[in-house]
Amino acid sequence: MSKEKKYYNSLSHSRESVSVGNEFDEKLPLDAMFENADTLSASSTSRRDFLKFLGFGTLAATLASCEAPVVKSIPYLNKPENIIPGIPLHYASSFFSENTFASLLVKTREGRPILLSSNHKNKYGGGINARCQASVLSLYDSNRLKGPLEDSVETSWSNIDIKIKQRLEASNKKIVLVSSTIISPSVKQILKDFKKVYKNFNHIKYDTLSKDSILSSNQKVFNKRFIPTYRFDKADCIVSFSADFLNEWLDPAHSRQYTSNRKPENGKMSRHYQFESLLSVTGANADKRFPIKPSQQSEYILRLYDILLSLSNKKSINTNNTNHDKQLVSIANELLANKGKSLVVSGSDNKIVQEIVTRINILLKNYGKTIFSGRQSNLFSSSDTEIRALIDDMNQGNIDVVMFLDTNPIYSLPSSMGFITALKNVPTRISFSESLDETSKNCNYVCPNTNYLESWGDLQPYSGTYFLQQPTISPIFDSRQFQDSFLKWAGSPINYMAYLKKYFKTNFSQPWTKALHDGFVEVNYNDRELQPLDNFSSSDIRGFISKSGKIELELYVKGSMGQGVYSNNPWLQELPDVISKVTWDNYLTISPSHAKELGISNWHVSNGALDGHVVNLVVGDRTMKCPVYIQPGQAYGVLGLAFGYGRTETGKAGKDIGVNAYEFYNDFDKLSTTNVSIEVVSGKHEFACTQNSHTMMGRNIVKETNLSEYLVDNKSGNKQFLLHSHKGHVKPNDLTLWKEHERDVHFWNMSIDLNSCTGCGACVIACHAENNVPVVGKEEVRKNRDMHWLRIDRYYSSDMTKERAKKEGVGSIEMYKKMEEPSDSENLEVVFQPVMCQHCNHAPCETVCPVAATTHSREGLNHMTYNRCIGTRYCMNNCPYKVRRFNWFNYSNNNQFDFNMNDDLGKMVLNPDVTVRSRGVMEKCSMCIQNIQKTKLDAKKERRKVKDGEVRIACEKACDNGAITFGDALDKNSRISKEKKNPRSYYLIEELNTQPSVFYKTKVRNKKV
């Protein structure tokens, strides 16, 4: 007989590496199941013994299960007056970490902070991003230090105070505090007082990701070292050169501003151009994106300036042509047409580039309109020379005492700078780190700081606003605020809380309790715009254009991991990257065409998980082994690598995950344009990716249109789907077999505006916190067993469409094959779509459940009853939106899933109103039914109706951009009723007639036509 015929169920099956003959790809772990046959026969337990044990065991288990455990109920001895068990309390506080500020409302239950949301009482204030949202879990990190350490041995505060005071007093060289930017006015005062006692004290600011280029360029242009504040909501034309302003660039508040000017209902939207090398969150949201190499960025900015100068009849500077000159001229014209209503920004670390950007904005008269030099941002302040000078000082032995606060230079400085060897020359090294990190490991005294949710504080992120921070829980461990340490060492008799109150009373006239309640006070400031100096000469720009290399490297910041401070936060580790959807990893990104050329590929193994090649990345004399992820949309010849990974000293969740990109962060420049090369090495890397399909395959999942078309027809892009039937063309609902549900009290609906969603992922983390969603770890994510109740789908556009196939006569197999591939041209577009349970009113899941564990409510919600579920997973299979999640294991109290739920401390973040699900049951978004029920109860208690906007579910609260609206559609005046009538609103996969309670609003771009 001829060779046996083989059928492949996926492309990867045809690979030789995968065995086709076996039912299971991987060898069954028989040894682990039966242990060793030899030991089995050598065992002294006979068959009769076994049966005896079995019988006894069964009996004992039965008897044990008959008796219910005795449950203790321990009330307070002295109950604080404002705490009622079961009722949450909210406190206004503030967050400042990784140079990111947010004004918060902290929800506490019985004294435990469990959820953070934006304090919308103030107009300014940074937005709350995914990391800030997840920071509440880091409060309950078991890796935090339990008390002060002296030479890695636990000691007491009194001992440490005596020892450190001795050392400080004995010091005759320099005492140095290294910290990230401090925006607390009272701390600045404390440091001044400290300097009065210790004259040789110096404060060195070191921001991990420095913005010295902007600060220094402003020093030159305005004669003042500052960062202005930006108003993206006032800009009608935005041009960004690799500034990822929706994610990390300067301030997360930009995202809220940006989306507020992207509402087509207003009749206008800002137009956004993005020139960038990697595919960033900001680029993904842009109207037009130009992938260019990092070395070209400065060239393009200069060219744009030149064009602007010549268009406004000013003396031109000599620049070379670029590949996109035509587009640059058109953009320049548009900018000039929007004088005073435009913004040009750049993420460059080069101060000359930043200076030119400033000059462009001055030329466009944007200062005082969209950029404010009067109202300044204090979020960054460090100067790159300071830390270099410190290393020299340490090497020369000029420093006696060094202290580290909110900074981790051993991790975040490239090892080539020799920080670790320099540090050895300092006899007294003190760290205020909350947990043992790379730097505090090398310190002889560690004075653990309290978490920000346990601390007092004040913050002045922008001129004109003063925020307060208050403790929402008493310190869990024997840690102490660093401010208290400084006060104590300077011999002050009062503690920081008293100091702060005194500071407030002397500087502000407002009542303290009112300020604490609101979380902030407004202060007067000089809002006069600064006058630029006319000291620009074209000779400055000579030779600043970066040299181009064959391969260039750009380092970037992931929204989930940031600078790496929160690396031990399992929620963030499992939050999929906004663009690549990869969890638990960083990797080199490369464009598809470049990868093909170099023979690098990513492939799916038989269970659908993604594997990829590994390369050696060489930059100068540094070599590092990195996995490679092929990223559509990235410019050819560029590699991207994210910061924040590769921590060696952190807790169990973050240790040794990914590679440390700071090794290549030379001279505080994210770009390395020369001497970069890669070579493929043997081995493969396993990615844990939550979305493996790239495109929509020609389906209408995300409906999209352009503003120009929308203004003509507000239903453009949102064509009603019609079915062919015996009655002619009808809406899917007209052919229904279903009976309508009764609706009388409420009908909860949700609207998601795809124009306001930037894909950031803050809602995903908020959902974790609110609904006790477990973390499953990398291995399980690879098996598609992630438990996110809310996911954000990302789709790339494809070059192939059905129309094009028809026109060009492409066969359908070839067409679908092409459709699977994202566009590799400049025109690649990206859309994001948050998908949670759609709460179908004709729900496919409900009809297939054999035990009626999932049922429909009169209020339009699809209920999931865990205690009734027997785990058939029929509902999961029948769900067209794939939003149901199955508990394959017990994720709490399970050493196999050693994350926050396997830890008494980590469990303190759990929401007591929501069940912790057990093994073998299905779970999914409940529309935060606990909040709905609570609000209804509040209304009934107060004998009134539920107000519109009163029910605030976790994802809605987390979305600072206001992309999510939730409410009662039976209330005719509610926001949601209006959204429902919006011509942009549509149901996801409407053709199935599932009648969801969730609907989306079409994405509208503002492309130039």
Partner: protein
């Protein structure tokens, strides 16, 4: 005490009752009218500040017993009780001495009391408290349930005895009739062979009874009705909620606002027990002292011991819903206006608290089926008219507006 006659117990009761009646008669013969009136006046007006007992047994004011009649003249007492501050101002030595002794706390004035009223009160004070005796009388009726069991055994024993007697008689008669003696089992067997229909019927009944028994016992798994654990402090709801008539919400105040009714914190106990340091019996005082031991309170000086390491009171939780069920007290107590007793039974009669209801899902659902919603609540206002049309004026139960949906209680 039903059905079963216990000669010893009833003899004891008789004896005891005679004793009690004799004692009461003795007291009554003294000054019946005065003491009753005095007792009710005393209880209404004096107990909150005075103990009955020697002078040293202080509450807010001194302890009261017959000694005061020796120490103070009747006239002085009239004046003092009607308006003590006047007496103090007049500079009366005895009055000022008391005023100083009790940290210048002024006794409430009772101008409405006539001399006769005061005489009655004094007569009551002179006689002293008689409650102790009554209390013992209340205790002895507790052992009733056990006798029920015994009755059952006696009845069973009687039936069995009669049966054996019948068999014996039958056998004797058979012997007398000269029939051949057959073994008991073989005769039973032959009887079974002759009556197959009876056997089938019997087995069917037996199997079904067994199944029903299994069902009954299985449906009790996890149901902790009548669960009555020992508590760290022998707190009596009967005394506090029953006799003293303290409102349930006073201690369990969060029941109106929150999901949890809450076990009162020790500072709530101290609102009263700062002053009430003694129980009715020695045991009672011991139990009160347990609160002081937890908080570090010294009842003699009425101060908290500084630096005392407070120890929480570990109550045993009686009502345990599984984690998967969400129950909210405020919804039921505040919104629906249910009495606590609806689910918790007559708590005010419980010496030791126990779980009154089954707390099973069927029990919850049944109530939701039967209970009407409060249509007067403005929350339902504009729905009211629709419902009248829809349900033709039928009563609207919780069930009808979705009170039986899964995720109302399971999320």
């Amino acid at each position: 005490m039903k059905g079963f006659y216990n000669p010893f117990l009833s003899l004891f009761k008789l004896h005891f009752n005679v004793l009690l009646i004799f004692q009461i008669c003795c007291i009554v013969s003294l000054n019946a009218q005065d003491i009753d009136a005095g007792a009710s006046l005393y209880k209404a007006n004096c107990t909150s500040c005075h103990y009955m007992g020697p002078y040293e047994k202080k509450l807010i004011g001194p302890g009261l017993n017959a000694e005061i009649l020796e120490k103070y003249s009747r006239e002085w007492l009239y004046d003092w009780i009607r308006n003590s501050s006047e007496l103090i101002e007049s500079g009366d030595k005895q009055a000022v001495a008391i005023y100083e002794e009790f940290n210048k706390a002024v006794m409430t004035a009772f101008p409405q009391f006539s001399n006769e009223d005061i005489d009655n009160i004094l007569a009551y004070i002179e006689q002293g408290p008689e409650e102790e005796v009554v209390e013992i009388a209340a205790v002895e009726s507790v052992e009733a349930p056990e006798t029920n069991q015994t009755t059952l055994f006696i009845v069973l024993a009687l039936v069995l005895g009669n049966l054996m007697l019948l068999i014996y008689v039958k056998n004797v008669l058979k012997t007398a009739a000269g029939e051949k003696k057959v073994g008991f089992f073989s005769s039973a067997l032959s009887w079974v062979r002759l009556n197959p229909s009876f056997v089938i019927l019997f087995s069917v009944v037996f199997v079904f009874a067994g199944m029903k028994g299994c069902w009954n016992s299985l449906s009790k798994v996890g149901v902790a009705q009548n669960y009555q654990p020992d508590q760290p402090i022998a707190f009596s709801h009967q005394l506090h909620a029953g006799e003293q008539g303290i409102d349930c919400n006073y201690c369990h105040h969060s029941a109106r606002e929150s999901a949890h009714s809450g076990i009162p914190s020790a500072n709530v106990c101290m609102n009263c027990h700062t002053h009430i340091n003694e129980g009715r019996s020695e045991e009672g005082t011991k139990e009160i002292n347990k609160i002081y031991a937890a908080l570090g309170f010294d009842p003699n000086s009425k101060t908290y011991i500084p630096g005392y390491e407070q120890k929480p009171i570990e109550w045993v939780r009686i009502h345990n819903l599984p984690d998967l069920a969400y129950f909210n007290h405020a919804q039921h107590v505040n919104v629906a206006g249910l009495e606590c007793q609806t689910c918790h039974g007559e708590v005010e009669e419980m010496e030791v608290a126990y779980q009154h209801s089954k707390l099973t899902m069927g029990w919850c659902i049944n109530c939701h089926r039967e209970t009407e919603i409060d249509l007067d609540n403005p929350y339902y206002h504009d729905l009211h008219a629709n419902w009248i049309d829809k349900y033709h004026g039928e009563e609207i139960t919780v069930d009808m507006i979705g009170g039986r949906e899964c995720a109302k209680c399971h999320y």
